[in-house]
Symmetry: C2
Subunit: 353 residues, 2 copies
Amino acid sequence: MVSIKDVAKRAEVAISTVSKVLNNYPNVSEGTKKKVRQAIEELNFVPNTVAAALSSKHNFRIALLINTITQTKAIDEIDMQYLSGAIHKAKELNLDVVPIFFSMIEEKSIAEIIAYFQSQSITGIIVYGLSKDDKVLHKLIERQIFKMVLIDAPLVNSATSAVWVNQKQAQYDVAKKTITENMEVGHSMAEELSMEKGRSIVEELSTSKRILYIAGKKNGYVTEERIKGMKQLAQELNLQLMIQWGEFSELQARQITFAHAHSCDVVICASDLMAIGAMKALMEMDIFRPVCGFDGITLMGYVGKQMNTIRQSFSAISARAVEELWLLMKDQEGREVILPHTIVRLHYEDIIC
Amino acid sequence: MVSIKDVAKRAEVAISTVSKVLNNYPNVSEGTKKKVRQAIEELNFVPNTVAAALSSKHNFRIALLINTITQTKAIDEIDMQYLSGAIHKAKELNLDVVPIFFSMIEEKSIAEIIAYFQSQSITGIIVYGLSKDDKVLHKLIERQIFKMVLIDAPLVNSATSAVWVNQKQAQYDVAKKTITENMEVGHSMAEELSMEKGRSIVEELSTSKRILYIAGKKNGYVTEERIKGMKQLAQELNLQLMIQWGEFSELQARQITFAHAHSCDVVICASDLMAIGAMKALMEMDIFRPVCGFDGITLMGYVGKQMNTIRQSFSAISARAVEELWLLMKDQEGREVILPHTIVRLHYEDIIC
DNA sequence: CTGTTAGCGCGTTCAG
DNA sequence: CTGAACGCGCTAACAG
């Protein structure tokens, strides 16, 4: 294997000089830089990240801590996009990436977890989907031993940054669009309801719509933000808001829908998967209610019915997280980064290719 | 960070002794082993894999080379299962894992690729979905510089193993089941056809069924095996086999179906995604043809219609690949490993949870 | 059976 | 601006 030594020999300079041009140090003359670069090309030299990590104090191995809550494998898409975005960006920045699943560290004490990461020469960690209940990880964040970037959790300190989209705004936007769109469409639902219940609900409708909001997990960071968005919207549009906890589970959303859809006008879901569960339930109940989701996963294109949903680019978010981690490792202060989102409807024709 | 030195000090032995018990070397007395183990526990010591990799000649870092042909993100599920299976098994065996996408090494020469892997101290590589056209990787396999395990490609040499399911048999099985099931069900299709075309096809049916087989990529390893399975079946059941190249693309399968489904009795697809494309096309054409797929991805549960498909456990395959790589690195000879498959129908009720 | 020693490939002082 | 020398944490002969 060709090492820095070979490059030094070929360029007729010292090893440390090669190291310096490799790491863009100042105080190297253009002439020697050229020589070294040429030698590197000729020898096809690629610096050994493993050795670099061992040698340098601020080494550059980062862990991707993936919370694979994927009850349904259908949303592996999200994790895969996270991984892909991070891995590509990491290569660009010459970072070594170590993918780690939550299951690999759960039940471990802080001391063990710290030892584990240190044993891997890991200095930076990206956490995908931190749960509010995860005491150990929260302690890890507080301790500031590692540089950390949190996806979808708004914790910031001088060693920790946060990256996510504006959850509150996004939920507000997609819900508002779904509700108002439906108001324009007409009164089919009102008619249906009045027939069902045998009473006029024109009055009810004119006063306020009843919204079934199927939320995510209790005490979840994103969940709370999204609920805030819903509450604001409810106030503005004078809506009756019924909140149920779907736990991001398609099945639970399904059951909640069976139980409560009859007494509601619109179903807003905090995830696409739950939206799909709700939609399928509605179809089985043979009633129509507008439904919207959150995430923009491809699966939405396959379920037949189109729904509004929030599209966030998971790979872009993840790539940005790597960049933020990189900045932290360069001793920048932690900060919160808000990335953009869009409202979309996924058609089968759009996702097929 | 606690290092082997600290352990040695605490256990009152030499560093190398600690290293020996760490790596299960012989010639260490039970007494000192105990002492060392205790010190390790007390200090929460985890050996630094990076340093180990640098030092040892047969280091244990493996690359996962992922061919993310995922035109549709809906099948990220497969890659994610691959990754998950490999990563968990790798942790079990104390291997360092480096996920690499094909896009990161494409356009590189062999020399560059070798340099890249060596620079990462990688000694073993798992290739997911090797294309027959990938000259560079084939050369890499021939050269036997790295230990390699190929998923879904039957190349074997003393440094290379192959892991896959029996593609020919699987395709044969699922196609046979789909075709014969349909024969038992009755003549709805025959009737429909005869009405459409205004002629009796009872005679045709009694002689031979016409099968549209939507295959994968030309020159693909799995594709060729699966076609063999279809040909054998065609011979046994006296079928007319029409083979079209779907390139594993949902869209192409859709177009092929539009073009040829009318003149066929059954549509057999070499992947679930293509099966979904075919099925959706059939629904739009408003005709019925039995369809089956291959892979067993969760998405199949969402498309409404049930189909037969081949379920293979991607995580199990991947985990096994890691084990095989481990054996190769322990200087075992390469070999071919066939893993089991099953025929399933995916219901929505089965995949939801 | 145990300890000593020499690297693995690289980053980093600190003299020159 | 350059180079010699040391060490990161660990493995692997080799001595004892």
